[in-house]
């Protein structure tokens, strides 16, 4: 305990831009931060805001990998900043906002609008006309294994990492992406949802849906919640082929 450990100086380069300022343009600003034990990017960014530049904008809520707000490109990889330990990175770190989503400013993006559009597009809620009216009726029972499987998919926090990690959606922005396909798989599995296979096919049975997926698996590899995206997209693909074969 006698010797004081010399901490690294992190050079954090951040892609900054304020789209509401007509005079601003995208530029990179590098900040130097002394590393501390157990430092995450969340801590480092707060350090920058407190001591270097209070105009820097980024999103955080839970700082524990639960809310999905702090997704950004860390050295080109989509990650939740609160879960990235700086000790796992090189001293030169580059940060950029996730692509495709509406940029608010600097690292802050508006995923909510995009995700809401997605939910409306795939109608990610239980469809059951009869049950809607019978509020006093007990909910239909479900096998625990199936409930677990559905719950697993419900863990998605809509952080947008899978979207940023998907080559297909970068090229073809109309593609649903893993987050959308995951939602569809979740409701397709759910016996309480009474949508027919054909109705599901209408949502995902085209090249903006499951048949547009090229299985690059960026989504699977970057998902901070480790959702089984690869398996569920494969599941949907098999289901949709079966549906087409029936018709």
């Amino acid at each position: 305990m006698s010797e004081v450990k010399k901490e690294r100086i992190l050079k954090i380069s951040i892609l900054r831009f304020d789209p509401t300022d007509p005079k601003d343009f995208p530029h990179i600003v590098t900040y130097e931060v002394e590393e501390a034990d157990g430092m995450t990017l969340f801590i480092a960014l707060n350090e920058i805001r407190e001591h270097h530049d209070n105009s820097l904008m980024f999103d955080f809520v839970c700082r524990a990998g639960i809310c999905g707000s702090c997704s950004m490109l860390v050295n080109g990889q989509p990650k939740l900043a609160c879960r990235v330990l700086t000790s796992k990175l090189d001293a030169n770190i580059s940060l950029a906002p996730l692509p495709l989503f509406k940029l608010i400013r600097d690292l802050s993006i508006y995923t909510g609008e995009w995700m809401r559009g997605l939910s409306e597009r795939v109608e990610s809620w239980i469809h059951d006309k009869e049950e809607e009216l019978a509020f006093d009726k007990l909910e239909q029972r479900m096998e625990p294994a199936l409930a677990d499987e559905i719950y697993e998919l419900d863990r998605c926090v809509e952080c947008g990492c899978c979207v940023a990690g998907c080559g297909t959606i970068q090229m073809k922005p109309n593609f649903l992406g893993a987050v959308g396909l995951n939602k569809v798989a979740r409701y397709h599995l759910d016996p309480r949802d009474k949508r027919s296979d054909e109705e599901y096919y209408e949502i995902v049975g085209d090249e903006d849906g499951v048949f547009g997926c090229m299985t690059l698996l960026g989504c699977e590899d970057v998902c901070p919640k480790d959702l089984p995206l690869q398996s569920k997209i494969a599941y949907l693909r098999r289901m949709m082929i079966q549906t087409a074969a029936k018709n």
Partner: protein, 244 residues
């Protein structure tokens, strides 16, 4: 619930892409084993050749069988190219986005896909040349005829490129096919993917090695046979026994 009339074409196209790719990839494995019989000697390769010409069924050789099979493969090849083309970047903007994404993301399977596009595009031309020549010259397959084609008729540069393209494209394609449909997924998809990826690399290395050894063998025969190019191979032993 309401009646829905769905358009099954996207599903069909996806199925055709996977099925045609699977057939072509498996055919290429078999094809590689057949052509590589030259490594076991000229006689073995010659026997394999006349086997596929129906010699052991009809008592004489019908190269027309090879023409028909090559034609069928050509048709599947064209079908696969037509449906797989949907996945290529369709303009410079998309291509640039993809390149940037690959460069900054540094993700193995995304990078592999770029190789698949690259090799697939190359095969539009390389594969067509090869298939057309085999279709129209199906009688000229054999230890000497094939070697002459490779050396004296200048097919070796094309075959080197085609071999690289086929083996990369085929093994990457099979790997992706398994993941796409959830084959061999087991209980742990992440573990099985690692296994599949290892297998993919092993298969690529195996077939590239076998392919280049085979090509070298034909080139060697072709160089030795250059002076007599056009002469056909015959099983010598049977002729000698017949005389006695």
């Amino acid at each position: 619930m309401r009646e829905v009339k769905i358009d099954t074409t996207p599903a069909r196209l996806d199925f055709i892409q996977s099925a045609s790719g699977l057939i072509l990839a498996l055919f290429m494995w078999a094809h590689m084993f057949f052509v590589s019989t030259i490594l076991l000697g000229k006689d073995v390769m010659y026997k394999v050749t006349i086997f596929f010409e129906g010699h052991y069924f009809f008592g004489e050789s019908y190269p027309l069988i090879v023409t028909i099979v090559a034609g069928a493969i050509f048709a599947i090849f064209i079908a696969h190219a037509a449906v797989a083309m949907r996945k290529l970047p369709s303009n410079y903007k998309q291509y640039k986005i993809l390149k940037n994404h690959i460069q900054s993301f540094k993700h193995g399977d995304t990078r592999l896909w770029f190789w698949q596009i690259f090799t697939g595009f190359a095969m539009f031309f390389l594969g067509s040349v090869h298939l057309y020549i085999i279709m129209t010259n199906s009688a000229d397959i054999g230890p000497y005829a094939s070697s002459d084609r490779i050396v004296s008729e200048w097919m070796w540069p094309l075959y080197i490129l085609l071999l690289l393209a086929v083996e990369l494209h085929g093994s990457i394609g099979l790997y992706r096919l398994a993941l796409k449909w959830g084959w061999f997924e087991g209980t742990d998809a992440k573990k099985s993917r690692i296994k599949l990826r290892r297998m993919k690399y092993a298969i690529t290395i195996f077939f590239l090695t076998l392919g280049f050894l085979t090509l070298a063998a034909y080139i060697k025969i072709g160089i030795e046979h250059k002076a007599n190019a056009g002469e056909r191979y015959h099983l010598e032993t049977s002729v000698v026994e017949g005389v006695k």
